[in-house]
C-alpha cells in the first residue's frame, strides 16, 4: 500500500505516510486517509520519507486536504522530505501553507 494512515498512541497526531509515487493515482486513497479524524483537533503529519516522486497533482491534493480539513485540525506538517522533494515544496512556497519540518 502506498498510503498508510496511523494515529499516534495518544490520538493527538494522525500520521499519513506516502510511499513511492505521490500523484493523482492516489486521489481516493489519500482523501480517505484524512477523513474521519474526529473532533479532537489532531495535528496531521504527512511523512514523505519514502516518497520518491511527486508532481503538481500531489501538490494540488495537499492543498485540497488543507482546504477540506480547515480548522478541524491543529496543524498540518510535511515531514522527512528528501532534498529533491523538499525543493519542489519550497519552490511552490508550501512553507506559507504548511509546516515543513
Amino acid at each position: 500500500m502506498s498510503v498508510s494512515r496511523e494515529f499516534s498512541n495518544d490520538g493527538k497526531q494522525l500520521i499519513i505516510a506516502i510511499q513511492g509515487k505521490f500523484d493523482f493515482s492516489l486521489v481516493q486513497e489519500f482523501r480517505q486517509a484524512y477523513s474521519h479524524i474526529g473532533d479532537s483537533q489532531p495535528t496531521v503529519i504527512i511523512d514523505l520519507r519514502e516518497t520518491e516522486y511527486l508532481d503538481s497533482s500531489a501538490l494540488g491534493m495537499l492543498l485540497n486536504m488543507r482546504k477540506s480539513l480547515g480548522s478541524s485540525v491543529k496543524d498540518i506538517q510535511l515531514i522527512n522530505a528528501k532534498p529533491d522533494v523538499r525543493r519542489i515544496l519550497d519552490i511552490s512556497r508550501f512553507d506559507k501553507m504548511f509546516t515543513i519540518a
Binding site: 520519507r49 508532481d55 522527512n80
Partner: protein, 556 residues
C-alpha cells in the same frame, strides 16, 4: 599389576617377590633408591614397596622423587618398616608415603592393601581422563565464546555511539551484554536510537543482538520509520527466539532539527524528557509488549510522537539502573534515579551522575546489565545523504512512442524515469526528472488529447471530478500517439526532452506562462517546469513541449 620392590636386603626382596607373584602380579626389584628411580623411569610401576634405610638413596628421598615422576597420576608408595618407630612413620608420611607394611607381612593383609591401593590408583586414572575431557570442553567453550564475541563486535562496527549530542553508560553484568544499545544517523540528518534488554544474561541474549543490530543499521541507513523498524525486529525475533526469551526495547527517531521525536516503547522503564535542571518534563512510558512475543499479525507498531522544546534531553535506560541495590539491599528505584538526575541535572554532569550510580552499588555484585543513554535534543548536525552526482560521459538518444494501450491503466512516465535512473549520474536527479516529465506528459495528455479544462479543479470537489473525468475520457481514447524524445549531450551535460502528440488542438496559448496563484489548484505544473528546467518552449503551436534540464545544476 606391576609392583616395584625396593629393598637393599636380598632376603626381603625374595620373600616379597615370591608372595606378590603368587597374587598374580608382575614384580620388579631394585636394591636402592637410585636403581628404583631408573627402573621406574623405564618400566614404570603401579605400586611401590619401599624400604626406609638403604645405601645410595634412602626410602624417604626416593619416595619424593617417585611421586614427582608420577605426576598427576597417583602412585601408591608403601613403606616396608617395623611399626614401632613413630618418628620414622611420620617422616614416611611427610615424604608422601601412603601406607606401611611390616616384615614379614601377613599375606592376606598385604593382598588387601595392594588391592585397595590399586583401586585408588585406578580412580586417579579416571579422574585424569575426566579432567582432560573437561579441559577440552572448557577450551572449546572459550573458543566458541570468542567466535561469538568476535561476530558481535563485527556486527556492531556500524554502531555510532560517538555523537556530541549522545552520552552513554553501558555496564554489562557478565562478559556478554544482554542489553543492547544501538545508534545511527539516517539519510535525512535524522537520528535513531535503540535501547534493548533481552531476557537473561550471557551468550544466549547476546546472539539475539545479531539480527537486531543488522536490521537496525540497514533500516536506519534507508531512513525508514521506527514503526517499520520494530515490525521487522519483532518478525525476526519471534521466528528466532525460544518462547521464554524476548527483548524489551525503546526505539526512537529524532528529527534532523532535534525538535520532533517518534518512539515505540515495549517493556522498557519510562524514558524521560528532562530540562537543564534535571527535572522530568515528560514521561514516555511502555505502551507495548516486548519484541519477540507477539506473532506479526498481532503485533502493534503504532508510535508516539512528540514535539520537543529546545534544551530538553531524552533519558532512556534499562531496568538494571533502577534495580541496582546498595549494600543494605535497598534498590535505587525510579524515585532514587530521578533524584540523581536532579542532583546532576546539567548535561556537563553526566560523568558525576555515572559515578554516583557506581558508588550507590559499590560493594555489591552487579546482578543485571545496566544501560543508560542521554540524548541532547538539538539539531543533529548529521549530514544529509547525497546521491552520486557523477556525470554521464556518453551521449545517448531515446525515442519512446506510446499509443493508448501504453497509457490506459499504465504509468509510462514512472517506467521511463525508473529506466533512466539506471544510468550513472541520473539517479540523483530522478525526482526532478520525474516532475518535469510527468508535468509535460500530463499537460499534453490532459489538454491536447483529452481536452480537459483545468478550471474544474477550482470547483467544490472539483479535484476528484477532474480526475474521474480524465479517467472516463481516457477509456474512450483511440488512435493516439505520444512521442517522447530524450537526448543527452555530455558536452554541456544537458538532457533534452521533446514530448508531442497527434492531438488536433494545441496547448492553449494563454496558459503558456500562467501567473501562479498559490492557493489555486491548477496552473502549478507549468510553473514547476519553468522553475526546474534550464529552458522550455511550446513548439508547433502548442503541439510539442520541449524541455532542457541541466544535470550540473541542482536547480534553483
Amino acid at each position: 599389576m606391576h609392583i616395584l620392590i625396593v629393598d637393599d636386603q636380598a632376603a626381603n626382596r625374595v620373600m616379597l617377590r615370591g608372595l606378590i607373584e603368587r597374587f598374580g602380579h608382575n614384580v620388579s626389584c631394585a636394591e636402592n633408591g637410585m636403581q628404583a628411580l631408573e627402573l621406574f623411569s623405564h618400566k614404570g610401576a603401579d605400586i611401590v614397596l619401599l624400604d626406609v634405610m638403604m645405601p645410595v638413596m634412602d626410602g624417604l628421598t626416593t619416595a619424593k622423587h617417585l611421586k614427582q615422576l608420577s605426576g598427576e597420576i597417583h602412585l601408591p608408595v608403601l613403606f616396608i618398616t617395623a611399626l614401632d618407630d613413630q618418628k620414622t612413620l611420620l617422616e614416611c608420611l611427610d615424604a608422601g608415603g601412603d601406607d606401611f607394611i611390616s616384615t614379614p607381612p601377613e599375606p592376606i593383609v598385604l593382598q588387601a592393601k595392594l588391592n585397595a591401593h590399586a583401586r585408588v590408583r585406578e580412580l586417579s586414572f579416571k579422574l585424569k581422563e575426566k579432567n582432560e575431557v573437561l579441559a577440552y570442553h572448557s577450551n572449546r567453550m572459550e573458543r566458541e565464546q570468542n567466535v561469538v564475541s568476535h561476530m558481535l563486535s563485527n556486527a556492531l562496527l556500524e554502531n555510532e555511539l560517538r555523537f556530541d549530542f549522545l552520552q552513554t553508560y553501558l555496564s554489562p553484568a557478565t562478559e556478554f551484554n544482554g542489553d543492547l544499545v544501538l545508534s545511527k544517523g539516517g539519510p535525512l540528518g535524522n537520528y535513531y536510537i535503540f535501547v534493548g534488554d533481552f531476557t537473561g544474561h550471557g551468550l544466549a541474549p547476546a546472539t539475539g543482538a545479531l539480527p537486531v543490530a543488522q536490521t537496525f543499521f540497514d533500516l536506519a541507513e534507508r531512513g525508514l520509520s521506527v514503526a517499520t523498524m520494530v515490525k521487522e525486529f519483532n518478525r525476526r525475533l519471534v521466528k528466532l527466539l525460544p518462547d521464554d526469551m524476548f527483548c524489551a526495547a525503546f526505539v526512537a527517531e529524532l528529527s534532523a532539527g532535534g525538535d520532533r521525536l517518534s518512539y515505540w516503547n515495549g517493556g522498557i522503564p519510562d524514558a524521560l524528557f528532562i530540562d537543564n535542571n534535571g527535572e522530568v518534563t515528560n514521561r514516555l512510558p511502555s505502551e507495548h509488549l516486548a519484541l519477540g512475543i507477539l506473532p506479526p499479525d498481532e503485533f502493534n507498531s503504532s508510535l508516539s510522537h512528540c514535539f520537543i522544546e529546545r534544551g530538553q534531553r531524552l533519558v532512556a535506560y534499562t531496568d538494571g539502573v533502577i534495580e541496582m541495590a546498595n549494600t543494605d539491599g535497598n534498590r535505587l528505584k525510579e524515585s532514587g534515579f530521578e533524584n540523581k538526575l536532579k542532583q546532576f541535572g546539567h548535561q556537563d554532569q553526566f560523568d558525576d551522575l555515572v559515578s554516583s550510580l557506581e558508588s550507590f552499588q559499590q560493594g555489591t555484585e552487579q546482578s543485571d546489565d545496566i544501560s543508560l543513554v542521554v540524548v541532547n535534543c538539538v539539531p543533529t548536525g548529521l549530514p544529509v545523504k547525497q546521491d552520486d552526482h557523477s556525470i554521464i560521459h556518453l551521449p545517448f538518444e531515446l525515442k519512446v512512442s506510446l499509443t493508448e494501450h501504453n497509457i490506459k491503466g499504465e504509468d509510462p512516465v514512472t517506467r521511463l524515469v525508473d529506466s533512466l535512473s539506471h544510468l550513472e549520474g541520473i539517479k540523483a536527479h530522478k525526482t526532478t526528472l520525474y516532475l518535469l516529465l510527468a508535468e509535460a506528459f500530463n499537460n499534453i495528455l490532459e489538454h491536447n488529447l483529452l481536452r480537459l479544462n483545468s478550471d474544474i479543479k477550482e470547483e467544490d470537489e472539483g479535484f476528484e471530478r477532474y480526475y474521474s473525468e480524465r479517467e472516463r475520457r481516457l477509456k474512450s481514447l483511440e488512435d493516439i500517439e505520444v512521442a517522447i524524445d530524450v537526448n543527452y549531450q555530455p558536452v554541456d551535460s544537458v538532457i533534452c526532452f521533446g514530448i508531442r502528440s497527434n492531438g488536433e488542438n494545441g496547448y492553449p496559448a494563454d496558459e503558456f506562462s500562467p501567473v501562479l496563484d498559490e492557493e489555486k489548484m491548477h496552473g502549478r505544473g507549468m510553473q514547476l517546469i519553468k522553475n526546474f528546467s534550464r529552458y522550455y518552449e511550446w513548439k508547433d503551436e502548442g503541439q510539442c513541449l520541449y524541455i532542457e534540464y541541466d544535470l550540473n545544476l541542482p536547480s534553483v
